[in-house]
Amino acid sequence: MDKNGYFGNWGGAFIPEVLHQTFEDLKREYIKARQDPAFWQEYLSLMSTYSCRPTPLTHAENLTRHFGGAQIYIKREDLNHTGAHKANNVIGQGLLVKRMGKKRVIAETGAGQHGMATATMAARFGFECTIYMGEVDVQRQRPNVFWMEKMGATVVPVKDGSRTLKDAINEAFRDWVTNIDDTHYVFGTACGPAPFPEMVSWFQSIIGQEAAGQIQARHGGMPARIYACVGGGSNAMGIFGRFLQEPGVELVGVEAGGKGIASGMHAVRLGGTDASPGVAQGYKTMFLQNEDGQMLETHSVAAGLDYVGVSPILADHWEKGRVRFESATDDEVMEALDLTMKMEGIIPALESSHAFVQAFKEAPGLSPSEAIIINMSGRGDKDIFTIAHAFQDPSWKAFIIQKGLEYSK
């Protein structure tokens, strides 16, 4: 990150003046934390006593046999507290908030996963907490809303715009500019104005640091390729980080192909040709926007990948050819999820399943002496409503109809 918050041509901090001082404070605090080994120690200790770090690296023996190519390893971020990599980021930011002496946190959430994680962190640290969530997502993800509320957070349904993630982000910024003095905005992914992309990537880098040691111990060397799904880009940056310095390791980001790139109903920013450079939500990256610069609606079966922008750090790696980008369609995702459940007894989140799709496409072409790592960013059992729906499971539908009738009485 240069002094203006750029990574190559991407990034920056396009923020209203009222936030200027807050960002200065945040940057200072962040740099201090990075330079203070005690901070990272405290972070590691909390992650290993409150969450379950290091998360395991699972050798997927059955999938490996099935595809007959590379040894498939799965980095198990699903086993984090709250069920996804999002915990890494929020706990890190929580420690920073404590240092800054603020008492309230806010966050946006799409899938609900980051909102859950933030509400959890807030409960643990004793912060007040407000979560902004598009009204559409509130409806789709009611279980997460329930838990956030139970953990003491206020969930505000955002009724503007497309009523999804990007609108929740806008609304969170509006809260922030109003309540800057006591409030920290816990950004959920490696996007937004500097220093968020770098800071979030730093907290997530714990994934790759662990994975490097684990694959060395298990496989006896570096992996050939690493696959991660890319919504905002935080889990991808998390696992890629440590391996950027390993030229032999190919890094593959997988975006949401939705109903297919040709359909226009997708969220492919870097792996297609529909996106163009833009500036929104505080940073410059490749956005899905029309010729006037208005953001487009996106689509994915995975709410967490359904976003118009993408990490500026990834945009830089994309431009420089260090990270390759691919996409997976909704249909491919359901198939990969199905196979993974049946063969390994593991339920990846719909988001994570995107990475599985691409790994499955490429594994057969590699040799059994090579290893690949799939970053399983989260678990899918939290997504029962979406997954059972996507599979069109008739017993599930009957169950819901029945429950609905009971509650209607």
Partner: protein
């Protein structure tokens, strides 16, 4: 005559100037046209015309909704530029464009500035573009002699204000409080201190915006600020009472004896 000179000239004759705000294409360009006419006829000194953006991060609910509805109506940036040119040609007050940076960036900064220049636009307000991030923007503004309006906030330090002032032209837009557009502001002792700090940091005229809704608000500003900015309030008025209500409202803002307006 540049924007700063023009405003200073107007200030010779008035104790405070009025700047108003419209969202282009909301509810329609026809209504915009009528609203601008009423504003100009009733003594508004400057109008900021907002080019709608799908992600108006610094705006509150009223302007946010106006942005969205305008886009839903099919408003294009080219239409907005043309409308700006039309207004500047027929009304003898300075017109500004207000928008978010992506609109300009995506249009192409050079092309945008060239068009704005040709349209006779005097200044640009871009709330999400801090000077550190706008090297080419500020260079083009200078080249085309279109004033980039910079913003002071209550959270800006004195040093930051001086830094911003170095980049700004025309006037300084002081946001009255933390938060987004549209909510009422309180003008207490803190506010006076803040305006004092603003004044000390710049020799340019200072405008105060965010939450200015009635004659009383404006009376408070006289002597402390050079220009009052009326934003969401006229949108609310047009929504509830139609474009024809704008003229009397504006006229009432400066009548010493007028009752507080409400809508």
């Amino acid at each position: 005559m540049n924007l700063e000179q023009e405003l200073k000239e107007r200030l010779q004759k008035k104790d405070i100037l009025l700047m108003t705000h419209i969202v282009l294409g909301y509810p329609s360009f026809e209504v915009n046209r009528e609203v601008v006419r009423q504003m100009v006829d009733n003594g508004v000194d400057c109008i900021e015309m907002q080019l709608p953006f799908s992600e108006p991060m610094a705006d509150g609910p009223v302007i946010l909704k106006a942005n969205q509805d305008s886009l839903a109506n099919g408003t294009k940036i080219a239409d907005c530029l043309a409308f700006g040119a039309e207004m500047a040609a027929i009304h003898a007050i300075p017109f500004l464009f207000m928008t978010y940076y992506n609109i300009i960036f995506k249009y192409g900064e050079s092309a945008f500035f060239a068009q704005a220049k040709e349209a006779g636009i005097k200044g640009l307000i871009v709330p999400d573009l801090p000077p550190e991030q706008g090297e080419s923007f500020f260079r083009l503004a200078d080249e085309q002699q279109i004033a980039p309006i910079l913003i002071f906030a209550p959270t800006s330090t004195d040093a930051r204000m001086r830094e911003l002032d170095g980049f700004g032209r025309g006037f300084i837009y002081c946001v009255a409080r933390r938060g987004v557009t549209g909510k009422k502001s309180e003008f207490g002792a803190d506010f006076s201190d803040y305006l004092g700090r603003c004044r000390a940091a710049t020799a340019k005229p200072i405008a105060v915006g965010f939450g200015i809704q009635d004659r009383d608000d404006i009376r408070v500003l006289i002597g402390k600020a050079d220009m009052a900015v009326i934003g969401s309030q006229t949108i609310r008025l047009v929504d509830s009472k139609g474009a024809a209500a704008v003229g009397p409202f504006i006229a009432g803002l400066r009548e010493a004896s007028a009752k507080p307006q409400s809508c």
